[in-house]
Amino acid sequence: MGLGKTKPLHLVMPVWNRGTRGIRGLSRAVALEGSQKKGRSLLQFLADRFYDVQALREYLLQKQVLKVHQKNRPFTYIKERFGPHAAGAYFILKQGGAVKFQGKEWIRSDAHGHFSLDFLKFQAVPVEAVNASGCAINYQGLDSLLALKELRSLWLQRCPHVDDWCLGRLHPLANSLQELSLAGCPRISERGLASLHHLQNLRRLDISDLHAVSNPGLTRILVEEMLPSCQASLLGSNSLPGPGEVSRPGEPHSPNPVTSPDMATTTSRNPALDLSRDSKYPYSNVLLARFPVGHPSAHGPLRHPWPPLAKRPEPPWPPRVPANPSATNAALVKTGLGLCSSFPR
C-alpha cells in the first residue's frame, strides 16, 4: 500500500491517471501527516506481516502449554529409588505445594522454590495430606498423586488445570481419601463432581466457588445424596485448619474481607496459606488468563471476596422521587431526570 514513503500530495492528477484503478488507487497518492506517520507505520509494518505475527502468537501459546507439561513430568528415577511417596512429595514440592507425611510436620518450599530433601529419607512413611492449592497440576501430574495410597486430605484449591477429566481419575484414592477441597477451580463443573461417587470414604468436600458449575445449590444437594456420609460445603469454611493456624482459615473466597486480622497474623506464619502464592493464579495459564471461564476476578491479582449476603446498597440511578417535589421540578422528576432527594436546593 505504499504508506510510510513520503510522496508529495497530488490529489487531482492521479484520479484521472491510468495508474490508479478505482478507489484503492487514491490512497497511494495521499501522504500522511508527519505526526501520525510513525505510529501508523509500525501498525502497517505489523499488518503487512500478518501471518508472521500469527505464527509468533501461536508459538508463544505453544510455549506456555509446553511449560505446563514440563511441570507435570513424572519423576521416575525418584520413584524407583525412593518409593512412590517420596516421588509424590517431590512432585508437589517442586510445583510449590505443601506435603505432610504421617507423624511429621508440613513441608513446603520457600519463596525461591528451594526445599530440603530430608524427606527422601522417610522411605516407608506414607504421605497423609497434600496441599496443592494454586499449583499447575494437570491430568498427567495426577499420576504422581495417585500413587499415594494412604492420602487422607487433598487440597486442590484454585488449580487452573484441574478439570472434570482429573476428577474422573481420583478413584484409586477411594480407600483412604477423607477430605477433598476443590474450591475455586475454574474448570470443574457438576459433570466432574458426578464422578466423585467412587470416593466412599470421603467425609468433607469443599465445592465452593466453582464458576463452571451452573447450579451450585442444586449440585450440592445432589452430591450429598450421592455421597451420604460426606458433607459438601459451598462456603469454604469447613476445611480443616491448616498447619499452625489459630482461627478459622480466612481463605480469600470466604465471606470475610481480605483485610481481617486473621489474615494478617497467619500470612507470614502460615506457609500453607501464603497469599502471595495466589498471584500465580490465574496468569500461569495463558488460555485461562485470556478466557476466564466466567471468573470475575481476572482483572486483579487477589480475588475479591463474595459480596456479603446482606442487603446490597441501592443503586444511585434512577433517582428516588422526593416526597414533595417542588412544582418546578415535577415534570423533570417524572421523566427521571429530576433531582435526587439529597441534592441541595
Binding site: 466432574g192 458426578a194 447450579n215 445432589l222 445424596e225
Partner: protein, 462 residues
Amino acid sequence: MRFSDQNGKMSEIKKKIQSVLPGGAWNPPYDTSYLPPEHSDVVIVGGGVIGLSVAYWLKRLEKPRGAIRVLVVERDHTYSQASTALSVGGIRQQFSVPENIQLSLFSVEFLRNINEYLAVVDDPPLDIQFNPSGYLLLASEKGAAVMESNVKVQRQEGAKVCLMSPEQLRNKFPWINTEGVALASYGMEYEGWFDPWCLLQGLRRKVQSMGVLFCHGEVTRFVSSSSHTETTSGEEVTLKRIHEVHVKIDRSLEYQPVECALVINAAGAWSGQIAELAGVGKGPPGTLQGTKLPVERRKRYVYLWHCPQGPGLETPFVVDASGAYFRREGLGNNYLGGCSPTEEEEPDPGNLEVDHDFFQDKVWPPLAQRVPAFETLKVRSAWAGYYDYNTFDQNGVVGPHPLVVNMYFATGFSGHGLQQAPAVGRAVAEMVLDGHFQTINLNPFHFSRFYLGEKVQEHNII
C-alpha cells in the same frame, strides 16, 4: 493523439482476450464464490464429524504445510439429518474387537486435549461438556462368559474396566434391580458422554482456519476412467480411477466438475449411494466387482423423559442385557434413552418421524424392570436419527477400495462413529499420505473382507 489512444485501447482488448483463453487468469464478471474450486487434491464427500476429522488430520499431517488442497462437500449445512448432530454422544472402550478399543482410546485422548488440538488463535476454548460417568453394561447368564472375555481384552488394551457382581452392583447403585443380571462391566475412567455438536463446530472452525475449502452441494456424478490389468493368476481385472466429481449446488441445477486426485467417502448413512455412483458393486454378484458397500441407513429413536424419583448424579450410561439403554441428562432428573430394534422390527428409514408406540412397547418395559423408579415417568420429547449401519458385521469400513483405486472409505460405524471419529480421521490421513496405517492398524476393516467373507463381528453394539 488519436493513434496513441487507439493503441492503448487495442492493448486492453488484447489483454482481455488473452485472459479468457485457457492459461490466462479469468475473472468472470459475476460472483462464483459459491462454486467449489475446479481442482482439488482431495474431495471429502460428507461434512460430518468423520469427514471433518479426516480433513483436520490431512491438514495436520501433510508435509510441507499447505501442500494439499482439501474440499469438503456437504449437502446440508444445518446438519438436520446428520448422525453426528442427533447422536446421544456416548464414548466407551467396552468393545469386543481390539481395534475398536484402540480407536476409542485414541479418540478420548483427543477429546481430553481438544483445546491443544483444535485451538484457533483469538477464539474461545472449546467445552465439550464431558461427563466422566462411565458405562455400565449388564449381562444375563447367557452373556456372562462373553462379557468376561471382552473385559479381558479391554483391560489388555489399556481400558480401565472392572467386573461387578450383582451384590456389588446393589451396593454401588441401590436403584438397580439386579434380577436376571449375572455380571456387569463398569468403565471407571475415560468413558461417559459429551456434546457432539461442540466437537463438530470445533472441528469445523479449526479446519477452516487451516485452509480447507467447504462447498454446500451434493455429489451427483463421478467421472472415471478404467484400465485393464491381469492378476498373477491370469484373471482380468478392471481398475477404475475417479477423475472428476460433479458437485451440484444446493437448490439449483448448476454443477461444477471438480478435478480431484482422491475421493473420501464419509457420507455416513448415505455412503451406499455414493459408492454406487462410483461404480462399486456393478458387476456379477459373488465377484469383487459385484460386492456392494453393505452400508445402509437405519433409523433409531431416542427419547427424553423426566422421572422425579430417578437415579441421581452418579448414574452411568446403563446398557441393559436386553439392549435398552439410558443415561442421565442434566441435573433435573431427566434421562435420555432408547433401544435398538431387532431386524424384524426395523422402522422405515425414509423419514425421521418418531414412533412413540415403540417406547411404550419396547423401551419402557425393560427399563422399568431394571430401574423400578422408572415405572413413573413422563416422556418430554423424542427424536430419530440414522445409523450408518453395516449389515455385514456392524463395524466400520476404512481404507481404499481394491478396484476403484482412489476412493477411500470412512463409514459404516453403526452407531459408534462419533466416538471413533478422531482416530479414524488420523488413520485415513495416514493411509492417504503414507500408504499404510501407522498409529492404529485398521487392516481388518478393509473393504475386501466383504468379498472374502471375513467378519469382524462386534458384539457390544448398542
